[in-house]
């Protein structure tokens, strides 16, 4: 007997939306087994992981702070994923956005005026888009695989950041720590509530998510992206240029990732450091798929994954569990989601090498 996947006749629409929920439940169940094996009470760990971070205003604000870059990157990625453009390098585009925005902040120096922040936001968008333009060029010109080029450019971006904070942009008064000067107040995102780190980036992200929804659901460009992703031949018949859409999806995706990076340095961090993201750009891939590549779904998924970051920190502090629990949770979630997706579209059959007798 060997297993075999057989396509189901029709895919149920409700199942498409039910699978993320199922994946979450399965992840929790498997997580419980894991915690039990580590000698902890699963209910206590799950409480510390999923409930405790949300029980204070500060916790809720942190949730939004963590969700902001995830949602921004994931929305940017979702445009490309819808069009079969597999940009894996959001982390690098995020880094370049942070570098470009920081460049403006450091160049402006002390208190330069209200124009600095908008200029930084613009530079962040541009930096991320420029970094994504490289895979776009190679893809449209030489048909180079964007998965490889965008991923490799991520490491280039991180090394570039490392060079800058160790070299030319190092704070001269920073006791040789590899980090830039702290940004001036005019170069920092305003906080929304005192006592938290919740910054202006969060409502901007919410607005952009709504705008992305409008674009994908109501605008012709969103329609073109969806058509190209489903069948390039039909897109060609309709006169939609595949190359143009590769450029558009990569540039907007890169721009939004760059904005996410800028929000990090101009928000919670306040300066350029060797590490500005705990892998938001990679985790955003999970967020994008968990949210079914739909801007509103991504919003929910971004909040959930942000909770997994917070929960990981809480269980580390409260119960002494390793921080890697967050990564394990995220990995399991993606695994269960993809597995559930396969089983929604296919059924598992055990084929046997035996003859079926035709009934007489």
């Amino acid at each position: 007997m060997r297993p075999r996947l057989e396509a189901r006749v029709g895919t149920s629409r409700t199942m498409v939306y039910a699978t993320p929920v199922m994946a979450v439940i399965l992840t929790m169940a498997c997580g419980s087994v894991l915690f039990a094996a580590l000698g902890h009470q699963p209910p206590a760990v799950l409480y510390a992981f999923f409930i405790q971070p949300l029980s204070s205003t500060y916790g809720l604000a942190e949730l939004a702070v963590k969700a902001t870059p995830l949602v921004l990157c994931a929305i940017g990625l979702s445009f490309g994923f819808r069009a079969n453009v597999w940009n894996i390098g959001a982390e690098g585009q995020l880094t370049l956005g942070a570098i470009a925005g920081s460049g403006v902040a450091l160049w402006a120096g002390g208190d330069a005026g209200p124009w600095v922040l908008p200029a930084m936001i613009f530079a962040g968008l541009l930096g991320g888009a420029a970094w994504a333009a490289i895979p776009a060029f190679f893809k449209t010109r030489f048909n180079a695989n964007e998965i490889l080029t965008s991923l490799m450019l991520t490491y280039v971006a991180i090394l570039l950041l490392s060079y800058l904070v160790h070299g030319p942009w190092k704070d001269p008064d920073g006791y040789s720590f590899p980090q830039s000067r702290m940004f001036a107040d005019s170069a920092l995102l305003p906080l929304l509530t005192t006592g938290t780190r919740l910054h202006l980036g969060a409502p901007i992200t919410l607005f952009l998510a709504l705008a992305a929804w409008w674009m994908m659901a109501r605008m012709f460009i969103g329609f073109q992206i969806k058509v190209v992703g489903l069948t390039t031949a039909a897109a060609g018949l309709a006169g939609f240029s595949v190359k143009r859409l590769i450029w558009i999806t990569l540039l907007t995706g890169g721009g939004l990732s760059g904005l996410a990076g800028l929000f990090e340095v101009a928000g919670p961090i306040g300066q350029l450091q060797p590490t500005i993201s705990p892998g938001y750009g990679f985790t955003a891939i999970i967020v994008a798929f968990l949210g079914r590549l739909h801007p509103m779904g991504i919003l929910v998924a971004g909040l959930f994954i942000a909770l997994s970051y917070l929960g990981g920190e809480t269980v580390q502090i409260e119960l002494g569990l390793p921080l890697a629990v967050s990564g394990v949770f995220q990995g399991m979630l993606l695994f269960f989601l993809l597995a559930a997706d396969v089983l929604v579209r296919y059924r598992l059959r055990w084929s046997r090498a035996m003859t079926t007798q035709a009934a007489g």
């Binding site: 006749v9 460009i221 489903l230 039909a234 018949l237």
Partner: protein
């Protein structure tokens, strides 16, 4: 029905095959006698292919009984079917292009044989049945008709007692088809039973002794096709009455709307055929038919016309007198071009998307469905509704996905989508390919109506009967070259057949394979 003296070669009783969500065969009975050519008739999706695959051991029936020469058998695999004496020629050939004829035949045989012995056998079988082939010829160099001969010879080497042919003439020129028929008649005379699957009614009436008609998985009729008119057979197939479209005679030719001059283009696809120096004009109110066997440059020509493949010169293609050779599909549509591609799902329509989205796909400009980058949904729905209503598209509503429609209904939808854009020039590829007779008649009527309103229509089709029926003038595309256009009413069908086989007026008379075969 009177029982013949000879035992039945094959008898099926109550064959039922259930696929997930679809009952493909429902209590099918079928009897084949030695020496008869038996037609299996039915529309697409009637269950013919499923039934044949069950006989050939590719699929297993859920229930039912197979009797071979009076003995109950269970056919579990094609190799077992071949051991019993059942051979099959598939619609899509299974030949290795880079190998010779003899090697391909050797690969298809279950028992080993030396190549030299095989070469002699191929020659013998070829002479006996009039299937001229050069055994050392590489398949890549053969014409489609010759490739089919390789498949048939491969079957005949096993001395079959039942030969199944799946739509064999769909790729053949009229001349090649006639040669195939005499081979089949000779085989039948020697006692072989032949199961002949087709939806070409005319050839079934000339070739077959008996016909079994299937509809929606069931046998609905059994008759002698020679006693029935093509119209009656079609009615049995579809279960509905329909009128055949008729071309009103002698429309006057107006001004040129589509001009193609000196168009040469390399194929976009790896194994595509390039086209060389194509010239033609389609005038107001005229239907020009381009005949030809598939793979002779049709795809390249169509891509050049739709704008999916840019032309070398702007003046190669003129639409309404304007140079359009270097314009993309969108700008050509603005000039008045509408286009129906060969492949419905995946080219003409996005399978997973709704009918409304598929209406938007090509209608966005000419139907004014956009406003500053936003889709006007009310207008899109209204346009889709009009397509569905005017072309009687059977669907689960305009929100249902394109791949939920039957082939005929989707084709009506796509043609309706293009027609409602009131095109000045319409290019249609294989308008009724794989479409049932009722839908085909509706499509033909719609095309003739459109021409009478002044649209210039170019129809590229493999179906010569269709072109003779609806087009005013006809030309043949063969090996990337277009013959001169002939007025259909005066056209000599035999000559068109020769042109389709690449044997036009004096130049390039025989294919390489035929020359070599003639020498052996």
């Amino acid at each position: 029905m009177a029982e013949a003296a000879a035992p039945e070669r094959l008898k099926l009783r109550g064959i039922t095959k259930q696929f997930p969500g679809c009952l493909a065969n429902d209590q099918v009975d079928l009897t084949l006698r030695p020496g008869e050519i038996h037609a299996l008739l039915g529309e697409n999706g009637a269950g013919k292919s499923t039934l044949v695959k069950i006989i050939y051991g590719v699929l297993r029936a859920n229930s039912g009984e197979i009797l071979w020469n009076g003995q109950a058998v269970t056919i579990t695999s094609p190799s077992q079917a071949r051991r019993l004496g059942i051979a099959m020629v598939f619609q899509h050939f299974s030949l290795f292009d880079s190998m010779t004829v003899a090697e391909n035949v050797a690969l298809g045989l279950d028992h080993g044989a030396g190549l030299s012995a095989l070469t002699a056998q191929i020659g013998e079988v070829g002479r006996r049945y009039g299937l001229a082939l050069a055994p050392e010829q590489v398949v890549h160099d053969l014409s489609v008709g010759e490739r089919q001969r390789v498949e048939i010879v491969r079957c005949l080497m096993q001395k079959p007692r039942l030969l199944i042919m799946d739509e064999p003439t769909s790729v053949l020129t009229p001349g090649e088809a006639e040669a195939l028929f005499s081979t089949l008649r000779q085989l039948a005379n020697e006692g072989c039973a032949i199961l002949y699957i087709s939806h070409k009614l005319q050839e079934i009436r000339t070739l077959c002794d008996r016909a079994t008609v299937m509809r929606a998985g069931r046998v609905v009729a059994s008759c002698d096709p020679r006693q029935e008119s093509a119209y009656d057979l079609a009615r049995l197939m579809t279960g509905a009455d329909f009128d055949q479209a008729r071309k009103p005679p002698g429309r006057p030719r107006g001004k040129a709307r589509l001009q193609v001059s000196g168009l040469s283009l390399a194929a976009a696809a790896l194994l595509g055929t390039p086209i060389t120096n194509i010239n033609f004009v389609v005038a107001t109110g005229e239907i020009l038919g381009i005949a030809g066997v598939a793979g002779n440059g049709q795809n390249t020509l169509l891509a050049a016309l739709s704008g999916e493949q840019p032309c070398p010169g702007a003046g190669n293609i003129r639409i309404e007198g304007q140079d359009a050779g270097n314009l993309g599909p969108r700008r050509r549509r603005r000039l008045g071009l509408a286009f129906v591609p060969e492949e419905r799902l995946g080219h003409g329509a996005v399978p997973e998307m709704s009918l409304a989205a598929n209406a938007l796909l090509t209608g966005y400009d000419r139907q004014d469905l956009l406003s500053r980058g936003n889709i006007i949904f009310a207008r899109t729905r209204d346009y889709t509704q009009r397509i569905v209503q005017s072309f009687q598209v059977v669907s689960g509503g305009i929100g249902s996905p394109a791949n939920s429609l039957s082939g005929g209904n989707l084709q009506k939808f796509i043609i309706g989508r293009e027609l409602l854009q009131e095109p000045k020039v319409l290019v249609v590829a294989h308008p009724t390919w794989g479409v049932d007779a009722g839908a085909a008649a509706a499509i033909h009527t719609a095309l003739l109506d459109l021409a009478s309103q002044g649209t210039a229509i170019l129809v590229v089709s493999q179906d010569l009967d269709e072109l003779l029926q609806i087009s005013d003038r006809i030309a043949v595309l063969s090996r990337g070259q277009l013959s001169e256009c002939m007025v259909t009413a005066d056209a000599d069908v035999a000559r068109i057949g020769l042109l389709m086989g690449g044997q036009g007026d004096g130049h390039g008379t025989q294919t390489k394979g035929e020359q070599r075969a003639a020498q052996t």
